[in-house]
Amino acid sequence: MQSFTLKTFIKAAVLCTSLGLSATQVLAHHPIQAKFDEASEMALSGIVTHVDWKNPHVHVFVNVTDGKTVTNWAVELESPLLLTGSGWNESSVKPGDKIDVKGIRARDGSRQVWSENFAVAGKTVFALKDTRPAKPAQAAAAPRGADGKVILGSADGFWGYPSSYALIEDGVNVPMDRYGQLTELSDASKVAPMQPWALALYQHRQERDLQNDPMFINCKPPGGPRQYQSDLGIKFVEDKVNQRIFVLVGSGNRNYRIIYMDGRDQVGSVTGDDDNPLYYGRAVGKWEGDTLVVNTKGFNEDFWMSNGGLPHTSSLVLNERFTRSDMNTLKYEVAIDDPGAYTRAWTASWTMQWVPDQEVPIHFCQDNRP
């Protein structure tokens, strides 16, 4: 009897876990290529029944008639942020409109299509524009405060549109898309000096089209360098009275990271404490000339530190350098030291662009729709 009860409980526990995960995955927001098959192009025409204008992706529902059969399809589009930036709004397409859609079909065979543009009466709507702000031919010098220090952030803009969406060792040129998906899986070992288990895990994630990215599936924060890899960007808020710099993260449920500038010791710990948020680690900073230098440790292992899924362990230590080289350019340099996952320390760098006259965009994960 005891053995039977024991087995039953264990099976129940395993079942609970499995069901919980399955439900999470069904509801999750996957990267595009994980949910839709780029090789499965299709076209459909029909009547709009509903427009769901919400983050993270807009959905337009369409009744498609085939003979006497009417089926309802979901056309998934980019986020309201990107569509609004391209000049569209919730009323651009209305129920009753007849639309022609070209896109790619869902991998699971369900009636879902990913589309980047479609037409109403032959006129294209929802086409995406590049919302990256134009860089002035000659950038102004970086602004400075009364104390002569470079101002990293100000109220009238944010840093976004990174020059690279990928975390790759400096000097290595490996093509990948904006989600960190490698063009060639065989390039995986070039990306960074990974230990064998880390390389195999990275390849496994790549082979699965990044389907299990915890930032998409479980709304985990984009900790580590990843917070600087999104068009939605970040914003620095310098609190000189309390000697802290806050990094407001546009891409991750409006998370924030605290950089302590008061000279406190680095005591980051994976067990965390009041000033050691585990997803962003315990960050202590100082100025070296015009460069903000930040040392961070005490990360947990519950997130991906990069687009594309480079693994890390709780041994991770980041040394970051932020330099506003001119009004429009922020240079980000990071030294990654994680003997738990990598064979040696390595560096990566890219730039971010100043987006003037805008607040950090509101972009909540699907489970946290406003």
């Binding site: 264990i10 129940a12 395993v14 919980g20 995960l21 288990w197 699965r208 991906w304």
Partner: protein, 124 residues
């Protein structure tokens, strides 16, 4: 009586933990694992393991509910995700299944004290 109390506690822990497996995106073995080594008359079917990764080796304990057995040898082959663990005279061999999930499992076999059987443990 003490053994029953310990086992009951472990079962309760397993049930509570299994309601939401904690994420683990680093080394795939790191964490707590609960399941069965079936047919282990000496220790009972139920087994709990706590595994860690220090950057160069896998460490931890195997706990069947009566005592902790320190792991003396453990390897992970990332080519096929096979695992080999030695503790307290026992040898456990298995393969990580559903590697991408927090509640991944290790399925394989155990042998020790002249016996052997099936092993199945799930990460909590």
């Amino acid at each position: 009586m003490k053994s029953i109390i310990i086992k009951t506690g472990l079962i309760a822990a397993a049930l509570c933990l299994s309601l939401s497996s904690s994420a683990q995106e680093g080394h795939p073995l790191k964490g707590s694992w609960i399941g069965e080594w079936k047919g282990n008359a000496a220790k009972g079917d139920f087994v709990l393991m706590v595994l860690d990764w220090d950057g160069s080796k896998i460490t931890g304990v195997v706990n069947p509910g009566t005592d902790n057995m320190a792991i003396t040898e453990a390897t992970l082959n990332p080519a096929d995700w096979t695992v080999h663990i030695e503790a307290g005279g026992y040898e456990l061999d298995g393969t990580i299944k559903e590697l991408e999930l927090p509640a991944r499992s290790i399925v394989g076999t155990w042998k020790g004290e002249g016996k052997n059987g099936a092993l199945e443990i799930v990460r909590q």
